[in-house]
Amino acid sequence: MRTGVFFCQMDNSKNLNIDAIAKYSANLPDVETVQILGVKPHPDVKMLSGQIKSDNLERIVIAGDMPGYFKPVFTKAMALTGGNTDEIRLASFQEHGARGEYALDRAKAIVACATMGVPFPLVAVTGGNPVNHATLIIGGGIAGIQAALEIANAGKQVFLVEQTGTIGGHMAMFDKTFPTLDCAACILTPKMVDVGQHEMVRLLTKSKVVAVSGKPGSYRVKIRQNARFVDVKSCIACNLCAEVCPVKVESEFDSGISLRKAIYIPFPQAVPNAYLVDEKSCTYILSEGKKCGVCMKKCPKECINLSEKDHTIDIEVGNIILATGYELLDVSKIEQYGYGVFPNVLTSLEFERLTNASGTTGGKIVTKTKRFNKKTEKDEWIFSPEGMPPRSVALIHCVGSRSKKYNPYCSRVCCMYSLKFAHLIKEKIPNVNVYEFYIDMRAFGKGYEEFAERIKQEGTFVVRGHSAAVSMKDGQMSVRGEDIFNDRLVEFNVDMVVLAVGLIPAQGNEELSRMLGVDRDSDGWFSELDYNGSPTDTDKGGIYVAGMCQAPKDIPDTVAQASAVAAGVLSSLTSGRGIGNLSSISLSEIEERAKKIHAI
């Protein structure tokens, strides 16, 4: 079949040498003509059809990062010449993951398959290596928990590695979930308990993956388990140690709005339900055993050992699931919102903890009160249950998201949780004014649009227009914005501002990606193999992504993806086909396989 290959790029990607691929494709069998049309070309239908006619082409391969974009023009040209429009093949570099180290060979293979009319995924089937039946999950948030349960329930061994003292992740911090307004803990805690008690799950809290070696199917993983200083098995969480502990530091679980002791349990429902010691603030550890140590004396079960050392564990696993989650962008660097300057400007997670019934105010939404700190002799602003409820609250969307300066992407969850906040505020405080400043309302999921409508009907002032200015005058905060739909500039006096802060990948992702050889995209999220076709696989065989660490997504999507990952892992365990790296299949091998399939 006489074939013409046309290169049309959408992006001027520097890591792909188009000329080299073009040269290679010119030598492929049946290829009559190869043309490089450049970046974002505007191919002319008449010119193309003229070329198809003069070269007598029967098949056209459009190669590029997003060739589908150009397909209509070529289809038209083909139809004009009376050719078979089914013979327009796409060679998509992006879809089949031609990037990173093996980009050039992969791209060549993709073009080769397209010229032979063989689908690339049919040829590029990895496998071969025998699979160890244990699975490592990095990250104990809802994604990790869900995947662990799915795999463990199928009777396979799971190692769940979590950096902090408890599993649960960010979801444990939430009050309600949108759009159903279910209690987040009611969904999460049973799952957490299941994971904690499951015989097939080995829970490694306060642990970190430090080294990975081996090949797909049998990865040797070194995990460093940091000292917890409390024996998990014998601790009964009686709280006597925390009562006597003299050190107070900001609670990570309460995102800094309340204080905890140096020996603490993150939250009452933590799994494992045992206390742990923060080695960065404990007086005994910092003074190397010279001072304090009262908790050890107080403990009725004698399970506290403040001289415990870190230790490493070596395990061998067949599959690795990345579920490392996200962090919030540091908003104090976006100066116009006054975070860190004005006391009552909160991030979304801080507000989430404030409104949570297990939070420091018992779920009452209040403004901060000033209190004199005797130690530092300075006034400080803290939340206390006796605080005044705010008379008006501004919720500002897209803080650091969809911005070329900070995060170019949409964080996906902010619109919905801001609407949820509006509901919670309206529900808890009567006669409160809530102003939502948004750019575009992205209520995309099942029931989300209805939820947005409902919030609007509840009497929230929804202002279509972003606010870029929070200012304080005589102790009264005010928020300026442009109300675009009503064509006016508005300025509201508010007592509290909640910023819908953009999400960024978790800090350890860079290290992990280097360790595992998994690509990250320009924003720092892990790259999946193919966004549409295999959203849970990565370039490396036997390594998968689930949840936020791949891209921002809400809880339903995260849970769905985690279950999908489990399906992938289980199929690799039971199919007997084994797993392998896509990059380990050489170009000649792919060509050969394609030829075989082509011959059929």
Binding site: K405, Y435, K456, V462, G465, S467, A468, E482, L489
Partner: protein, 385 residues
């Protein structure tokens, strides 16, 4: 009323410097941070929107671009880097070309070769004319008075005729501006006495540029720097133009220095030399938002002015030190820069000297009239249902 849309308008504006308008996604951050946006004149977002929609007629009759002094807050804040500040600047350039009935301004803005060629040709023609005049009636060794190369009486007439040409263009353009903005662009009744009530706005904004200072107050630089230097530069050349147009006969006579006139000349020269060097330096450094993208026309103005100042000072020194031959030659060169610089005025951004105070004046009238029209502008937002 039907609204005519020009879908290619955004491409037209691209030539005037507004390159990134399409990036704007209407978040309104720019209007929020703008120190000049108020309940009647809401910009830059609305101007960006009109531009995206191709509402050429609407922008043609709007005053908003003139109310912006380009402090750059909006462009710094813009999450899309759509550069609203530069868009407002480009809209001013485009408006100048719309007010200009000859179409020369549009040519200059669109093509820098046309402009530079026009400047060079005007300079050469001026030079030839002055040399011809000088050699036909005078001696190169006499600077002023009887038998001078370029006697001040002649220069006075020459200046006035150039000034007259510029004034005719400016007045016609200003009338066109008034027609477009106050007749076509104001669909409600404007009482005539408002023109008298708000008249103080004209000299007030011309001489103080108070709104520019308000812009700068956002940035916390010493002495409100760009505003201060801009004001000095403007007062400098205005003083110089007055001296040259009216008092040239006292100004040129010598060799004694007439302090009653020259004290103004020296002050103006200081303002001009500092101003031109400051702005040229800023445009090279590009560390302020508003100087990041310099249009070719911006360069022509400031470079010509710098050359005029340098040759003017040189000529003054030569004259006072008795080097009359050199003084006469420098004088010709000086005028070769002055004439194209002056004649260029109605067709370049420099015309904002006239349009800006006028726009403030018109804007104040229009705002008064509008507020009279709809007295209830309430600031409570309406639910979106």
């Amino acid at each position: 009323m039907a609204i005519r849309v020009n879908p290619m308008f955004i491409d037209v504006l691209d030539r005037y410097g507004a390159e990134d308008v399409q990036l704007c996604y209407q978040c309104g951050d720019c209007s929020t941070v703008c120190p000049h946006a108020d309940e009647v004149y809401k910009f830059p977002r609305k101007s960006m929107r009109s531009l995206q929609m191709g509402l050429e007629r609407k922008i043609e009759t709007s005053l908003e671009p003139w109310l912006c002094y380009y402090c750059g807050q909006c462009s710094t804040q813009c999450p899309r880097e759509a550069d609203p500040g530069e868009t407002m600047m480009s809209l001013r350039r485009w408006l100048i070309s719309r007010y200009d009935f000859t179409g020369i301004a549009a040519r200059f803005f669109k093509s820098k070769t046309t402009e530079i060629l026009a400047v060079i040709i005007t300079a050469i023609v001026t030079g030839i004319f002055l040399l011809y005049y000088g050699f036909s009636g005078g001696s190169i060794n006499i600077y002023d008075g009887e038998g001078a190369f370029l006697p001040s009486t002649f220069i006075h007439k020459f200046d006035l005729s150039i000034g007259l040409v510029v004034a005719v263009f400016l007045v016609i353009n200003a009338i066109r501006m008034w027609y477009l903005t106050m007749i076509k662009g104001t669909p409600f009744y404007v009482p005539w006495w408002l023109y008298a009530v708000e008249f103080y706005q004209l000299p007030w904004h011309f001489f103080t540029q108070k709104r520019y200072a308000e812009c700068e107050s956002q940035r916390k630089t010493t002495f409100f720097m760009p505003w201060f230097v801009h004001l000095g530069l403007m007062l400098g050349y205005v003083t110089m133009l007055v001296l040259v147009m009216v008092f040239i006969e006292q100004f040129q006579s010598g060799p004694a220095i007439k302090w009653s006139v020259h004290v103004f000349g020296y002050l103006a020269s200081i303002g001009l030399i500092i101003g031109t060097i400051y702005f040229i330096r800023k445009r090279f450094q590009k560390n302020y938002v508003q100087y990041k993208k310099s249009h070719s026309t911006d360069w022509v103005f400031v470079v010509l002015l710098f050359l005029i100042v340098v040759t003017g000072i040189a000529q003054h020194i030569f004259h006072r030190t008795g080097l009359l031959q050199e003084a006469n030659i420098t004088y010709v060169v000086h005028l070769m820069f002055v004439v194209p610089w002056l004649l260029r005025m109605p067709f370049s951004k420099w015309a904002h000297l006239v349009y800006r105070p006028l726009a403030m004046y018109f804007a104040a009238i229009r705002k008064d009239a509008l507020l009279r029209q709809e007295e209830a502008v309430q600031s409570s937002p309406v639910f979106i249902k």
